[in-house]
């Protein structure tokens, strides 16, 4: 009985870790490449192809240091009133936004 509980605990823990890792795995590779293209081209039209800024502020990892992910998610999804930053929620869901923030901050397209 004890061992069954133990096994269940292990399974839950493993599932938890697996849940953490593939949060982004739900985004198919083809969609990921669309998102990267959107980041480069459409975000790039205000923030620069190299993300070093334009009419909009720079989005380099350095520039985003210390900015909470929740705030970035809110700005991307709902825009920033008083600035030209529009809401992208019609183009992106929350998971996709989180993935893009991950890409911006880590420079990596995978979870780890």
């Amino acid at each position: 009985m004890r061992s069954v509980k133990h096994q269940a605990g292990v399974i839950l823990a493993v599932l938890g870790v697996l849940w953490m890792i593939p949060v982004f795995a739900g985004i198919p590779l083809a969609r990921q490449s669309e998102l990267l293209y959107l980041l480069e081209q459409d975000c790039g039209s205000c923030h620069g192809l190299t993300r070093r800024g334009g009419l909009g502020p720079p989005l380099t990892a350095q520039a985003l240091t210390g900015k909470p992910a929740a705030m970035l998610r809110e700005i991307i999804l709902n825009g920033r009133p008083g600035t030209p930053m529009p809401p992208w929620k019609g183009f992106l869901n929350e998971q996709e936004v989180d993935w893009l923030i991950h890409v911006l901050i880590t420079g990596k397209t995978h979870a780890r």
Partner: protein
């Protein structure tokens, strides 16, 4: 001699190939039908000609060309390309190569050439201001920081144009100002400043006669108008509150005011946050009506004869181009060139329009009378298209 034989000779004697190339280059030709296409992601430009619709050269190494634009020397032989990364590159169209290149700022947006053709002005975001260079050598002549207020906070500079009297006129995005820089003494510019012109001027242009400067406002509904014949009258607001208090729609790409679209005393401008093209009666600067279009207009440009106005759009409608007939004031054609239409440029007298379709890696050429696609040229993520006819227009 058959071509294959010639090619064999070239293989054996490489210098022969060079000589053939040189003699080909030495054939005199004009530049009136030339132009460049910006390939934004690869940092290259194509030199093209519009008579046979062919590519003459491809020049690379120009840095980050997102949002790049270009102006021409008055002999229409050299193009000056303004890159996003602060690069300023002078291109020799006839030799198909870079004549001179400098990196003059960290982040820039565009520029203009002076009335006398001797000065190139560049508008910079970072550090915010305008720098002026000698057109022949690209040597720095003047640096005008766009600082305003008590703390002289630097502003991003947009909407830089040239105006008669060797003046440059531009807008300060953050500060909401318009400045006129008189460059008659290039090393000692005289700057006249107009404050409180409206919130967030995003771009500006001049009327084709150089009489009026107009800045589009992003932060409020309206445009700021400055009479360059009588600057002492100050800046006034036109089309104030054109949104009529309605909540603006989201704008997924900033509109542009590349060149004042004028037809028969009526100007056509993009509305911001409305899927409309606004018409302004240029005799009294009052609204003359508005036309519903497919999305947020980005470029609204008149065919050189003014009989048509062509419009492209921000995402998600950026696969379309609409044509407005300026007599009936109706959309008479909706074209779908493909994903991400970024720019349109008319041939000097307007029988063709060249359209860059970024995601399709093509530039399409349309007949403006029949709307048939005449040709298609491969290009790597093309954006701006600039023909040499711009060399002789006020404002560019």
């Amino acid at each position: 001699m058959r071509v294959e034989h010639l090619l064999n000779y070239c293989r054996v004697y490489p210098c022969l190939a060079g000589m053939l190339l040189l003699s080909a280059c030495a054939t005199p030709r004009g530049t009136g039908d030339l132009g460049i296409i910006i390939e934004r992601a690869s940092g290259s430009v194509q030199v093209i000609e519009t008579s046979q619709r062919t590519r003459l050269a491809r020049i690379s190494g120009l840095g980050d060309l997102s949002h790049a634009s270009a102006v021409y020397s008055r002999d229409a032989r050299f193009a000056y390309v303004f890159g996003r990364d602060g690069g300023l590159t002078k291109i020799d169209l006839l030799r198909g190569r870079v004549a001179k290149r400098i990196v003059q700022a960290g982040n820039s947006i565009g520029g203009a050439i002076s009335q006398d053709g001797r000065l190139i002005a560049v508008s910079n975001y970072e550090p915010g201001g305008v720098k002026v260079f000698a057109a022949d050598t690209l040597a720095l002549l003047a640096d005008i920081p766009a600082g305003s207020g008590d703390d002289q906070r630097r502003s991003k500079v947009v909407g830089l144009v040239d105006a008669p009297g060797n003046r440059f006129v531009y807008s300060l995005y953050d500060a909401g100002e318009i400045w006129i820089a008189d460059m008659r003494n290039p090393r000692a510019p005289r700057v006249q400043k107009f404050a409180d012109v409206g919130r967030q001027p995003y771009d500006g242009t001049v009327t084709p006669d150089g009489h009026y400067y107009i800045a589009g406002l992003f932060g409020e509904d309206g445009l700021a108008l400055l009479d360059l014949w009588q600057p002492s009258l100050g800046v006034r607001r036109v089309l104030d509150g054109y949104g009529r208090g309605r909540q603006p729609l989201p704008v997924f790409k900033m509109p542009h005011m590349d060149y004042w679209a004028l037809s028969n005393d009526t100007a056509f401008v993009p509305a911001v946050g409305r899927h409309e093209v606004l018409m302004i009666d240029q005799k009294n600067w009052k609204e003359a009506g508005r036309i519903d279009v497919a999305g947020q207009a980005v470029f609204v440009i008149a065919r050189p004869d003014g009989r048509q106005v062509w419009v492209n759009f921000a995402p998600p409608e950026n696969d379309k181009v609409q044509v407005i007939d300026t007599l009936s004031r109706k959309v008479i054609q909706t074209l779908k060139p493909g994903k991400a239409v970024l720019h349109m440029e008319f041939t000097p007298r307007g029988e063709q329009v060249w359209i860059s379709v970024r995601d399709e890696n093509r530039v399409d050429v349309y007949d403006t009378a029949t709307f048939e696609r005449l040709a298609s040229l491969p290009a790597d993520k093309p954006s701006g298209i600039f023909f040499t006819a711009r060399a002789h227009r006020i404002g560019q």
